[in-house]
Amino acid sequence: MSSNLHNAMSSDSGPSSGEDTLRLIASLPAPAGLEERVHKALRAAPRSGRVLAWPQRFRARIASGTVMESNWMRAAAAAAIVFVVVGGGWGVYSRVQPGQAGKGLVMPQLMPSSGGLSGSGAIRTPVTIPGPKVGEQGTQTAKKPAVPKKAASGQHPEGEATPQPAVSQ
C-alpha cells in the first residue's frame, strides 16, 4: 500500500500539532549553486576507492578478462601472503630450541658500609678462593718430633735427682 502521508496528516491535523512548521522547513528551497558546489566537490575527490589498487595497465587487462579474473588474482595473492606469513612463522618456530636452565653468575656482594662510611667499592672476597691445601699422607707422618730415649742419661724414671758428692772446704 503506497499512500502519501502528507494528505492523510493534513486532513486531521491542525496547525496546533506543529506539523505546519515541519512542512514549512521541508519545503524550503535549496541554496543557489548547490549542484555546482557538489559537482566541484566530486571532481576534486580522489578517484581510487581502494587502498591497494592494481596498476592501470593491469586493471584494464583484468577488467577485459584477457589475463585472469580479478577475483582469482586476489584470491591467489591472498593465499601467497598467507603462505609466506605462515611459512615464516613456522621457520622461526622450528629453529628456536626450548630454553635451557640458566647458568647464572653470582655476583659478589658489596661489603655493607658501616657507620655511615662508604665501602669505597670494596668487594668481599670469599675465603674459599685460595682453596684448602691437601698434602700427601706420607710427608705429614714423617715430620713428627722425635721422642728422646730415656735410658741414655741414666736418670731415674721417677724423676728423682741423683745425689751429688759432698764438697769439702
Binding site: 500500500m1 496546533s16 535549496a30 557538489v38 587487462r61
Partner: protein, 197 residues
Amino acid sequence: MGTGQAIYAGWMEIPTSAVNEEARRRAEDAAIAALVDQYAGALYRVAYSVLRNATDAEDAVQEAFLRVLRHRDTLDEVRDQRVWLIRIVWNIALDRKRRAKTRPETDDVSELARVLPATGLSAEELAAAAEHHAHVLTCVERLPAKEREVLLLSAFEELTSVEIAAVLEITESSVRSRLFRARNLMAELLDHDSSLR
C-alpha cells in the same frame, strides 16, 4: 569489435579494454552528475530538517554524493535511487547531529528567522513566527527518537509511507503507528506548554 582487437591512433596502439574502461568510467560520472542535478535539492531539505543549519546540510549533501562516488560500482544494483540517496543523507545528518549536540538552540531560532519566507510580514511578525517555529521544533526534539524520525520524514510531500519505511528500514505499519503516537505526543506537549504560558 572483439576483445583482442585494438584501436590504432597513429603509431600508438590503444587496447580496446582500456577504451571500455574509460567509457565505463565516464558513464558512471555522467550518471552521478545526473543524480546530483535531480536530487541535490531534495537531499538538502532532508538534511536541513534534521540539522537546521544551511552549512551543515550542504556538507551532508556533499558527503552523501561522495559516498555514492565511492560505491559507484554498485549504482546499477540500486532499485530506487531516490530512496537510496535519501537514506544515505538521512544517516549522515543523524550522525552529524549526534556529534554536534553542543550547538545552542538560539542558533536554531536565528537560523529560522533568516531562512523562513518573510513576504507580507513585518519584522515583529517575522520574529514571532520564528519564535513559534522554534518552540515547535523544541517540542519535536523532546519526542522519542523513533517517533521524531517518522514525523520529520512525513513532512516531505514527496515521500510516501512505503518510502519512509524504506528509509528507516521498518515496516509500513510501524511508520503509521509511530506517526500516530508522534502526533498525539506533539499535541500534548504543545497544549502543556500553552497552558503554562
